[in-house]
């Protein structure tokens, strides 16, 4: 039963982080929420008895994609600041 | 010994990787050799299929449902033949084009190799998940090609195309997930009897998702928004590849799924709706083509219109008499083939015009008839196919489709097709009228290598000649 309760919490957190990633006004926050979403997905895969996917999601899904996105936000900010000066 | 199915996929994969290693110059040579070999393999498969034997291949030696099966039947054989037959002249054309105008050559050959491998794999696969992977391969290769001259315009077009294709394959993948959840397999041959026996709502939903996703990828009206900038803005050899072949790949897949899997669950109203979208595409694409000031954009909108004809297949073949369905399939296949050849020729000719005059404004084409007579001839011949005049392949295609419409008692599609033919004539004659005008004072023409004009002309000639040899093509298609 505690398994089910955990799953429901996990699903709620997943949906919340996805919604925030899509709607957060600040781009940086949105990307951070997206990485949180990726890590929660890894947890969901673990709950679905899929450790291989959990590993891949954490490393590639949240890790690499997150790094790519964060780097791009940084790039975007640098660009904005540069053009203002 | 040599299994043509497997080699049609492995050969382009290999030369694509080697072309990446060797760089553009030597890569181009190896690519041409590879495509020539592929054409031989495709001809081999077509002859075998016409002789009445379809070929199968179980990847890894595992049969479905555990493994992935490859299958070549009449429809696959024709599409394979079309892809290699268009690719070979285009490869010759591309080498000449990029020698003259090197922007965008850097990764052209490996991208084109992966694109061909992906399309061949798509035409041969009999496994819906494997088809998803091939769809993504086709999409990413095409996007890479669109972006290849990396100007703001082409990058924006590539990105728009990328998002469209990703949404399309996402919907397709969700459909696959629902099918797997319902039946426990992704093999087409295993799924077909199961779907016929029992179709819960999930199957219907999966069918809708897959067909809608593929329509987005085929740029059927109103999902065509991404096509004109992508096809009109890319370097000409790329435009030719995309317009002639890439959209046909996703169209082929809709037909394959419809005939082999989804027809029993498809409501007739859905087929009528698809036909109406096809009609809207014909009208809208042609009208927009007529209004384009640039030659390549005109040709790109013409593709939007010609896609419409392909989709008339669905109302004609769904829950109609067998002979009507038969002519509908034959008509759609002929349309795919003749449009593929003619459109590759047209974009090729447009590329010649751009390299020679430095622009592709339709209104400033005056004088090209005396300077580039072969290219004008190419435009005219491929125009004949698009309009559907005899004896072209386009004529046979439209004739078969009209036959299917009449024998299934759906005369209203005939009106759509005839109106489409007239509109096509309008934009083809717009090009020719300007081409035959006197040369403007300011216009300058550059001399071009011969290997630029001839491949495009050969393609245009083939689109006409295919009408004379239609019976051979239909024999390949008709085989079980």
């Amino acid at each position: 039963m505690s398994g089910l309760a955990f799953d429901i919490l996990l699903v709620a957190a997943l949906l919340w982080s996805a919604a925030r990633a899509l709607t957060a006004a600040d781009l940086f926050r949105a990307v951070v929420m997206f990485i949180v979403f990726g890590l929660l997905m890894a947890l969901a895969w673990a709950r679905l008895d899929a450790p291989d996917i959990a590993l891949a999601e954490a490393a590639i899904g949240a890790g690499l994609s997150g790094a790519l996105l964060l780097d791009t936000v940084g790039h975007l900010r640098a660009k904005k600041n540069g053009s203002r000066q | 010994m040599i299994d043509p199915l497997a080699w049609l996929i492995l050969l382009p994969l290999t030369w694509a990787a080697i072309a990446f290693l060797l760089g553009p110059t030597r890569g181009g040579r190896i690519a041409q050799a590879g495509i020539a070999l592929q054409l031989v393999l495709a001809l081999w498969i077509a002859t075998e299929v016409a002789g009445g034997s379809s070929r199968q291949h179980a990847a890894g030696g595992w049969r479905a449902p555990l493994g992935i099966e490859l299958l070549a039947d009449g429809l696959s054989a024709i599409m394979l033949l079309l892809a290699q037959a268009v690719a070979l002249p285009l490869a010759l054309y591309a080498r000449a084009y990029f020698t003259d105008h090197p922007a965008g050559i850097r990764h052209f050959w490996p991208l084109a190799g992966f694109l061909l491998a992906a399309m061949n794999a798509l035409f041969l696969s009999a496994d819906v998940f494997n088809l998803y992977v091939t769809l993504e391969l086709v999409g990413l290769a095409a996007v890479g090609l669109v972006a290849s001259d990396s100007t703001a315009k082409s990058v924006a077009a590539a990105l728009r195309y990328l998002f469209a294709t990703l949404v399309g394959s996402g919907a397709y993948l969700l459909g696959v997930a629902l099918l797997y959840g319902t039946y426990g397999t992704v093999s087409l041959s295993e799924l077909a009897p199961l779907v016929e026996d029992a179709a819960p709502y999930a199957t219907l939903l999966a069918a809708g998702l897959m067909v809608a996703g593929l329509m987005l990828k085929t740029a059927l009206f109103p999902f065509h928004f991404w096509l004109p900038p992508a096809h009109g803005g890319a370097p000409s050899p790329v435009s030719a590849l995309l317009s002639a072949l890439v959209i046909k790949a996703s169209f082929y897949l809709v037909v394959r799924l419809w005939l082999g899997l989804l027809m029993p669950v498809a409501p007739p109203a859905a087929a009528q709706l698809v036909g109406m979208l096809g009609t809207a595409a014909i009208v809208w694409g042609s009208v927009m083509a007529l209004r384009q000031p640039r030659l390549k954009m005109l040709i790109a909108y013409s593709t939007v219109a010609q896609i419409g004809y392909l989709f008339l297949f669905f109302p004609l073949a769904t829950h109609t008499a067998p002979d009507a369905a038969q002519s509908a399939l034959q008509g759609a296949a002929m349309q795919a083939v003749s449009h593929g050849l003619a459109k590759a020729a047209m974009f090729g000719a447009a590329g010649v015009v751009i390299l020679s005059t430095g622009h592709d404004q339709v209104a400033r084409l005056g004088g090209i008839t005396s300077r580039l007579p072969l290219t004008v001839f190419t435009l005219a011949l491929s125009g004949v196919t698009l309009m559907g005049l005899p004896p072209s392949g386009g004529f046979i295609a439209k004739w078969l489709l009209i036959d299917g419409a009449i024998s299934s008692g759906q005369w209203w599609w005939v009106i759509a097709m005839i109106a489409g033919g007239l509109l096509t004539a309008a934009y083809v004659f717009k090009i020719l009228r300007h081409a035959f005008l006197e040369k403007e004072q300011s216009a300058t023409f550059r001399r071009l290598p011969r290997m630029l004009e001839w491949p495009a002309f050969a393609l245009a000639l083939a689109s006409l000649a295919i009408g004379l040899r239609a019976s051979d093509l239909l024999r390949v298609l008709g085989a079980p």
Binding site: A19, A50, I53, A56, L64 | V155, A158, V176
Partner: protein
């Protein structure tokens, strides 16, 4: 089954985000979210009786790699567009020169 239903919601939300958001980075995140939704349906529905099924798991592994490839390509194109136009959204359709 719970996860499969979540997958459907994520898919629909991701598609909505893809259509409604104009910023390219958000579109790319939306793509990843609806992709994850489809993956959850694939595994969640395949294992709805609680038995482990390695086939959809392997498919999702393939799918994740494909998504990352597409994400990286989309970001590269978006950054190139940013460098060329200074914006991270699609330029308005202008008249063709």
């Amino acid at each position: 089954m719970l996860f499969a239903l979540t997958g459907i919601v994520l898919f629909a939300g991701g598609i909505a985000g893809m259509i409604l958001q104009s910023h390219l980075l958000r579109k790319i995140m939306a793509f990843n979210i609806f992709g994850s939704g489809a993956f959850l349906v694939l595994v969640g529905l395949g294992q709805r009786d609680g038995q482990i099924d390695p086939v959809p798991q392997a498919m999702v592994l393939t799918g994740i790699v494909v998504s990352v490839a597409a994400t990286a390509l989309a970001l590269a194109l978006a950054r190139r567009l940013l460098n060329l136009t200074g914006e991270m959204r699609f330029p308005r359709e202008g008249p063709d020169d």
